[in-house]
Amino acid sequence: MIEFKNVSKTFTAKEGTVHAVKDVNLTIPDGKIYGIVGYSGAGKSTIIRMLNGLEFPTTGSVTINGSEISSLKGKELREQRLKIGMVFQHFNLLWSRTVLENIEFPLEIAKVAKEERRQKAQKLVALVGLEGRENAYPSELSGGQKQRVGIARALANDPEILLSDEATSALDPQTTDEVLDLLIDINKKLNLTVVVITHEMHVIRKICDHVAVLDAGKIVEQGPVLDVFKNPQQAITKRFVNQETSSASLDDTTVVVSELLEKYPNGLIVRLTFHGDQAKLPIVSEMLRQFPDVDLSIIEGNIHQTQEGALGSLYIQLLSEHHDSLQGALEYFNTMRVETEVIKREQ
């Protein structure tokens, strides 16, 4: 378990002091993928770098399984670092070494015997899907392949924790998803704790169990990913969630919704939120069967896969002569544990 207790960090630069991290409290459970999301300069890198002693807190403490990283020095710190792997945005591979030699590098640092190093590196090459490229140099690899080497290298000394500092930010969407799948795979196979920092909600949604939202050095919101997506509290979190769930269509939806509200003042515009298995049930058609006088038109809908299952949202319009049927329909949704939100006309 990783714990940040009242951690603050200030940098003294020529231009004055920068409060990069402000009073952060975090608990990261073992074996989970924990995401920290925030805009550029929010202090994400500073936080993750405190976990392997590349940065030390100004006040507060950072502990891993009870031992305080922030108080380790010299040999002790180096030994602790062997148990923490890190993946970087710009890969940071040694250009002078082949794929296999790059993966062996941390094993050399740990003074593992040559024969064992080779075998271990070969296994990792297979784990990250780079068979056949063992003897290629980094300059001969694509970004995605380089990051696979970076991940294999980070895993070489069987770490308990894997840190990922914007590991997919330099990759295209397709490659990003491949690398994210690899991270999930590794988390499941090796059962290690993964701390992911990113500015993309997509990454959080796709692989994380928990998320913390960082704004100007402060954690403003944290919780299970599904909860945060379903029910974002802070404005910044809403912005992050919207960035992922509704991409470009949000504005269009608002226009259509207000037009419909004007045209059919008696109808209801409802936003349904499905999660988990409900997303796969025919709940809407069942409702129509129960309330045959209700007319339904679909305005917009989407569905996303998260670590805890599917998360869908659907904007629909419900029309009926009978007000009771509309109420009944809403209640039906609620009993099916579909969240409903009636959209009102903006004043």
Binding site: E79, M86, S96
Partner: protein, 228 residues
């Protein structure tokens, strides 16, 4: 003998080939021995400059200042003056001020600081993220030097050696003029003072060839090791 006519360049019968061979050997010997020492010293000094750069500890700052001062001073003294300046030191270390051995101290002391700067620059050009990655893996300072700094800067280190070696060849000729032997000495004594232009021309041609060989070897090595 006529030292004025253009034709005098081509009076090869005046060239003593045994002396020419001996002088060539001396030049190559001076260059190779000093480049070996310069490489070692330069890398050490460059490492000290790189590692002590930007530290907050007073002692380390002083060390950085001393090494930087040494490097800067000896890099700025013109070579011909440095030889003269070092005559007593040379006498003390080598026991003589004549012959190829006597040229070594001045050659080394003038070229090592030059190479040290090239080494420092080469280290600074390494992507800082790579050094940090090694640190994050738990590497010691020595492991970082041996496994990251040196291999990752190897092309720049080698091309730096090439540049340094070529200027060393020039220096050996200068040293030769005041008694250190080699092709410079031969060109000066047999060529200039004995007005034998063919000897001067031959010495020039051989020096140019030596430079080309060094350049070629350097370029070839860089091409082989650079996998970027």
């Amino acid at each position: 003998m006529n030292s004025n006519g253009f034709a005098s360049y081509f009076q090869f019968s005046n060239v003593n080939w045994a002396n020419m061979g001996q002088a060539t050997w001396e030049t190559v010997w001076m260059t190779v021995v000093s480049i070996i020492v310069v490489t070692i010293l330069g890398i050490l000094l460059g490492l000290v400059l790189f590692e002590t750069n930007g530290s907050s500890s007073i002692l380390i700052k002083i060390l950085n200042w001393i090494v930087a001062a040494f490097v800067n001073i000896f890099r700025s003294i013109p070579f011909i003056i440095l030889i003269v300046l070092l005559l007593p030191t040379t006498q003390l270390i080598m026991g003589t001020i004549i012959g190829p051995q006597a040229a070594l101290p001045s050659l080394i002391i003038s070229a090592a600081p030059f190479y040290a700067r090239l080494v420092e620059i080469a280290f600074h050009e390494i992507d800082h993220g790579v050094i940090e990655a090694a640190e994050a893996m738990g590497a010691t300072k020595w492991q970082i030097i041996l496994k990251v700094l040196l291999p990752e800067s190897m092309p720049a280190l080698v091309s730096g050696i090439t540049v340094t070696a070529i200027s060393l060849i020039g220096y050996t000729a200068m040293a030769g003029a005041i008694g250190a032997g080699g092709l410079g000495n031969l060109a000066y004594l047999d060529g200039f003072q004995a007005s034998n232009n063919a000897v001067t021309l031959m010495a020039t041609v051989i020096i140019v060839l030596i430079v080309f060989v060094f350049q070629y070897l350097g370029d070839f090595a860089v091409k082989r090791i650079d996998k970027r």
